[in-house]
Every structure is written in C-alpha cells, then in structure tokens.
Symmetry: C2
Subunit: 447 residues, 2 copies
C-alpha cells in the first residue's frame, strides 16, 4: 500500500467547491455523528469516517480506450472531480483509492497535479469487490509505517460519480451508524425484466416496487470488513452489490436513502458529455466585473455590468472591488474593463493575481478583456491593430489554464446604439463563458 | 383524431439523416418483412408497419416546466428529432403521436415548421398506457375520413428516444412478426433492489439475470390491440410495460432484442445536455471546403484544406466542387475560401445556394468565410475594417438558421509562419464547428 503524497498526514483540505454548501446545516448534522465524529475539527485524532473508492475498472462500456475514471473533462480526469467532492467534506479523514498497478503512476500524477490531500493508493483487484476488499484491508491493518487507521464508518463510493454532495454522504453515514449499513437509491428509469433462456420475456418486475441501488453506501467498518472476509469466491468474482454482502454474511438490513439524480454513474460516452455540460454550467454561475474606472469615467463599465445583470439570467454578476475575496469564493469568470489605463494594464494586473491564486488549477478560468471604442474618434482598424497583442498574452496564460479573450465594444454617442452594443457585448461574454473554448483564446471579438 | 398536415397521405419521406444508413443491407433485410411489407416501395397500398408515439408526459423528472419531449436541442424540440428518426425509415407508413389537448397546436406547429410527413395526432390519455391505447384505436378504426388503416405490425416508441436506428426497428418488427411481440433490452447499469416496507433492503436482484426494458417495441397489431382492449383499469393506470400486457392478456412471450446504448431515454436535464452534444458531434463529421480559386492561386485554399485533413481527426474534409451533391448528402459545415473574388462574392453565392436548399431547416449550418492576408502588403486594420460587413450578413442569414463567421488567415512569405497560421486557422474552424455558438456569429476571427 502506498501513501501519497509521501508523508502527508493532514486532514482532508476542502478543495474548491462546485457549489456552495449549506455549511451551517451540515455542521449541525455532522455533530450527530457521535463518538469520534468530525475528527479533525473536534481536535480528535482518531478518524471516524474513511472512504474507499474502487477505480480499477476498464470502462469497456464507454467505447473508448481510456478507463472512464481517467477520461478528461475540461482537460482534468473524471476521478479528480470525485476526489474533490470527497475531500471537501471535512469529516472524511482518509480516502483510499484502488487502482491497477498499470495506472498507479498516472494516479499519483493526478493527485500531485490537482493537489489532492489525504489520499492513499492501493492496488485494485480483478473485480470490483476485490478492489473494495483491498481498500478495506488497508484501513484495517494498523501498520507502523502507515498513516491510516481503522475508521468507525467507511463510505464506499464510485470514482465515476463526481457529483456526490455532502448531505447525502452525511445521510448514509448517519444511517450506517444506526443500522450497520446504508445506501443511496433512485427510482428506476426503465422497467426491469427477466429473460428466459430462449431470449424471450419471462416476467417483468413492477417498477414501483423496485429501486436502482446507487452510490454512496456506508457501513460500520467491522460489519463490511467481516462480510468481505467471509465472502465466497463466487461473490467476490461475480457480485455487484456491497449491501447484499452485508445482508448475506452479517444479516444487516441496509437502510435505503433516496438520493438525488446527481448520483448517476458516468458509464457511457454520453455521460461524459453530460458531466462536462454540468460542470461548465456550475462554474459559469458567477461573473466578476473588474474595472479601473474610479470616478468620472466609471460610467460605461458600470453600464456593461448592469447589462450583464439584465441579460444573463441565473448568473450572479459581482463587482470586483474585493478581488481577493471573490477569488477565494471561487468565481471562475472575469470581465475586465479597461477605460482609464492603457490597453492591457488592468487586465495584466488581474492575470497576475489569478496566476498567484492557483484558482485555475481545478477549472479553466475565463478572462474577457473589454475595451470601449468610439469609432468616430479613433480609427477602428488602428485600435484593433494595437489590441491584437492580446493573442500573445492569451498563449502565455493558457499555460496556467486561464482562457483570455478580447472584446471591443462600440461606444457611440447615440444612446440607443450604445444600448445595442452593450447588449451584444453581454451576448458575446455569455457565449465565451458558457463554452470555455480554448480554440478561440486570444481572439478580439467585436460588439 | 386529427391528421396533419391536412390531406397529407404520401409515404413517409426520408428527412435528413443523422447518419448514413447501411442502405443495401437494410433494404435486403426489409424484404424479409413478407406480405405487405415495405409497402410504398413495393407498390402495395396497404401499410404493413405503423408507429405509435406516446408524447403526453409532463417531464416532471426533468426539473423544468416544459415537458421533456418539447425541450429544445439546438433550438429544435426533442420530439422532432425522434419523428425524423422514424420518418426516414421508408417502410414505416404511418406515425401516430399522442399529445395532450394543451400541446396539440404546438405539435402541429412543430410538424409544419420541420416539414414532418405522414404524422397523425391523437389526444393522449392521462397515463402512458392510455395514450398508447388512443394511438392504437386511431389505427384500428377504418373511418371514411381517416387516412390511416390498420397495420399488420405496430411499433411503439418513446418521443424522448431520438437516436433510434433503422436496424433495431427492423429487428423488433421482424421478431414481432414471428413471435407476436418484441422489445429492445439493455444490460442494467445499477443493481436493482427491492426495499421492505420500513425502507430497508429486503433483497437485491442478480444483475446478470435481469435487463432494462427499453424502446422500441413492436407487436402484431391484433395482439397488442386485443391486450389493451382486455386490459384492467389498474394496468392502464399503473402499468409501465407493453410487453407485460401482451404476456398477461394474450399469453405472448415477447422476443427480447439486445439494443445499442443509443436507445437511452432522455429523462433528466443531464440527458438533454448529452443529447445536444451527441447531435452536435454527429453533424460535425464533415466539412466542405469551397473555393473560388481555379488555377494559379488555388494554392492557399488547398493548403488550408490539407491542414484541415491533417489536424481534424474523425472529420471528413470534402472539396466543394459538386456543391449541390454535398448539400444533398447533408453536410452541415462549410469553409468558404475567398481568394480571387472580392471580399464576400464567393461566400454570398454559397449562402444563396444554402438558403435555397432548405438544408438548415433541421440543423444549424455553419459557414466560415475565410480571407487570406499578407500583413506586409495590406495594412491589417484597413482590411479588417472592410471585412466587418460580415456582421450584417451574419445577422441576416441567422434568420434561416445559418451561422456565419469570418476568419482572417495571416499569409506571410515565411513558410514556417504560414504553416503556423494555417494550423491556427484549422483550430479555430474546429472550435466554431464543434460549438455552433450563435452568440459569436458575425465575428471576424484571426489566425
């Protein structure tokens, strides 16, 4: 068993969050986890909760050569999103990932590159159950050189379910403490049928009486470890359901928890598309408008900000006055209005700040550098020529996962025409943020 | 029951196809449909095969107010894609769609706008089974003013499964002729469990022994109509499975046909995202390069064509010599290189031809108008200023669902730099075609 990063032993640090958590509610509920619960915060060294992630699958259903957990979404492997979802939960102390020997090095690179904390790697087995068993063994063995220790409750989750939320994790853990085992379920989307040997319908199951068993699941560690130790080779080889093992070998009837649709498993290529769209949507919820204008001329930047507020529903438009705070809150979209300063001074300041913040480690950050131009006072072509240097900036910052685009907004005297160009500007900004297309970086768009 | 368009009675015309069908194979197999099979082609007036599409659902699982079958994908309602998939199959004579009274007018508009043929509308019932029954009744009744007549085999499909292919339709129809009933199945993605009344696990089902029942299904008309006529109110109200009705009321054991992953049902919002990505991917498989250059100067256009071939894997790059033929073959992406002629002459010719062809009725067509520029001979800014008129063209052709973008490719003397700008051009072209973003139309991008 290998621990990574070497010597790392701190509590799981919350990585950037996909969504704001209802912090206070969850903290209150988390305190329901009695005993050694909420370990790190309570100053208690024994972790109550660990998680095991089998990630040894080959992803044959995906129809692509890369195992699905390593398929990239916005250039980052799927499994990194799942790790991020787990490590932001402060009361999960250890995360054990089971990967094939072949993928061990790749997995270490992922952990290092995306700065995941508190992850231990074990070698996966040839089946899902064997991989989980390996993960449990790593937690059970109190070895001197191993930073892991036996948890009271263990969560079992899939590497390919990146959208798991803290509330469902808490629900299954709480239920597992009470019942010994618990798992998330969902209504069936299709009717389930049983075929006869000749490939005809034998019978169909009543849809309302059955559920799809999803992940996460949680168990009292002693229950599930006992079940795996007693488990037959046949079950280890062909079984698919941990709840079934707890029932069969420990007579524990798992509590079933209704989960949200987000718990779905990335199985087919279409699921990768869906995951990418969901992630893009989530990181496009907020735009921060940064401007250099302070007094007289702040007019036009604010007008663009107003237009963004009016035109882009479901997007929160924030002023970039306290930029450090906004970066901390994980806003991934910036519109930088340059009015007072020379062409790119303000943009350059913003880019420097973003690069220092490491904000773009997990998601591509969009920066749109806006210039206003009154065609009648400055020749259009000349201005554009100056602004084309944005291409070089864009190439440079792309290396740190920042997507820089230019936007030239026509600024006529005529009020109605100005409204029109501001609206067009908002449309272009929305399009760039939504798509996050790296093929168009460094372009100077015109509104 | 309403027939739409009024008086329409021709055979289903093949709409634009998402994928090339393996025509010869399917024609050969279709001839296996004996009797009145392949009606229209065989000069036989009695249709052998009809389809019923229940589309009365409310889409509550989608979490959006619009019923999912009417949710737009690339601005076209999902159900139109499903109709297109069915109507391109020449041997399906009639398609009966069951919609709520409330959505009847909207459905008529969809049929008219997207030029669907051979569709009849009936009012849906309050449950899926009642809607299907209404569709079957419309086919059973030989009314004087009704263009429908009773088919030998009826396909039942879902309005929210747009990716059904001709081969699986043929398989279920052929099997239904032999067995009386047939349906597509898929392996289970999750283990299915049965909860006890207290919300705990009662037992889990062995995943390998069960299947998900999907659509399409097909039945001898007399079998399924008989089943619905005998069906209990309880089954009509709470049942979900047509194969079950054929078994219960007519003792017909349906033949089960392994379907492809494409048969999945658009159920959640994420499925809409997935469907949009799949459709975008399918219509981005081919790029046609049109150019005005004939002799001496054809050089640079051809070099861009070569670069596209090298850089864009999985995309077929075609020369636009026989443009009418390429439009007929449903290529949705055009790169128009203007070298000899004045700025937009060639592009204008292409746009006119596209508008006349109606190619963009079903999918947005991307046109990228390419200009080459040697910065050292023509001032960059001045050239751009001329080319900005593309914004007006773009606004105009957007009305007919054509997305026009401009691309200015730097054409230096230096061979290595030229290679670099051609490669950059190919990247931008790929990005525009992939995203089909209407927010960026009329922009002049620079490579």
């Amino acid at each position: 068993m290998e621990s990574w990063p070497p010597g790392g032993s701190g509590p799981a640090e919350a990585g950037p969050r996909l969504r704001g958590l209802r912090g206070a509610d969850l903290a209150a509920s988390a305190s329901l986890l009695s005993g050694a619960g909420a370990g790190a915060e309570a100053g208690c060294s024994a972790p109550a909760v660990a998680a095991v992630l089998p990630a040894g699958g080959s992803g044959e259903r995906m129809g692509v050569p890369t195992p699905k957990q390593f398929c990239p979404i916005l250039e980052r492997p799927l499994i990194s999103y799942t790790l991020q979802a787990l490590e932001r939960v402060s009361w999960i102390k250890d995360i054990v990932v089971a990967v094939t020997g072949e993928n061990m090095e790749a997995m270490k690179c992922i952990i290092q590159r995306y700065q995941h904390k508190g992850i231990s790697l074990v070698e996966s087995g040839v089946t899902r159950h064997r991989s989980i068993f390996n993960g449990l063994k790593a937690l059970a063995e109190d070895q001197p050189n191993c930073r892991l220790s036996k948890p009271e409750v263990v969560i079992i989750h899939d590497a390919v379910r990146p959208f798991v939320e803290e509330d469902v994790l808490l629900k299954v853990v709480t239920a597992a403490k009470e019942h010994g085992a618990a798992g998330a379920i969902r209504p069936l989307v299709s009717t389930v049928i049983s075929p006869s040997v000749d490939g005809c319908l034998d019978h169909s199951l009543e849809r309302a009486r059955h559920r799809a068993s999803e992940m996460p699941q949680a168990f009292l560690f002693d229950v599930i470890y006992e079940a795996y130790q007693q488990c037959s080779d046949y079950d280890l080889e062909f079984g698919t359901e941990c709840l079934h093992l707890a029932l069969k070998y420990c007579h524990i009837k798992a509590k079933l928890i209704e989960g949200s649709p987000d718990l779905w498993k990335v199985t087919y290529k279409r699921d990768l598309y869906a995951a990418e769209s969901i992630i893009k949507e989530r990181i496009s919820q907020q735009i921060c408008v940064v401007m250099d204008a302070k007094e007289d001329e702040e007019h036009v930047g604010h007008r663009l900000e107003e237009m963004l507020k009016n035109e882009l529903n479901h997007v929160k438009v924030t002023s970039g006055r306290d930029l450090q705070q906004i970066i901390l809150e994980q806003c991934y979209n910036f519109v930088c209005v340059n009015v007072m300063t020379s062409d790119f001074e303000e943009t350059q300041k913003l880019l420097n700040m973003l690069e220092e913040s490491n904000l773009s480690i997990l998601y591509p950050v969009v920066v749109i550098s806006v210039q206003f131009l009154d065609y009648e006072s400055v020749p259009f072509g000349q201005k554009m020529e100056n602004l084309m240097q944005i291409r070089e900036f864009a190439k440079e910052v792309k290396k740190t996962n920042i997507l820089l685009y230019g936007l030239l907004v026509y600024y006529p005297q005529d009020e109605q025409k100005l409204q029109e160009s501001l609206r067009q500007g908002a449309t272009i900004i929305a399009a760039l943020i939504k798509e996050r297309n790296s093929g168009l970086i460094g372009q100077l768009l015109v509104a």
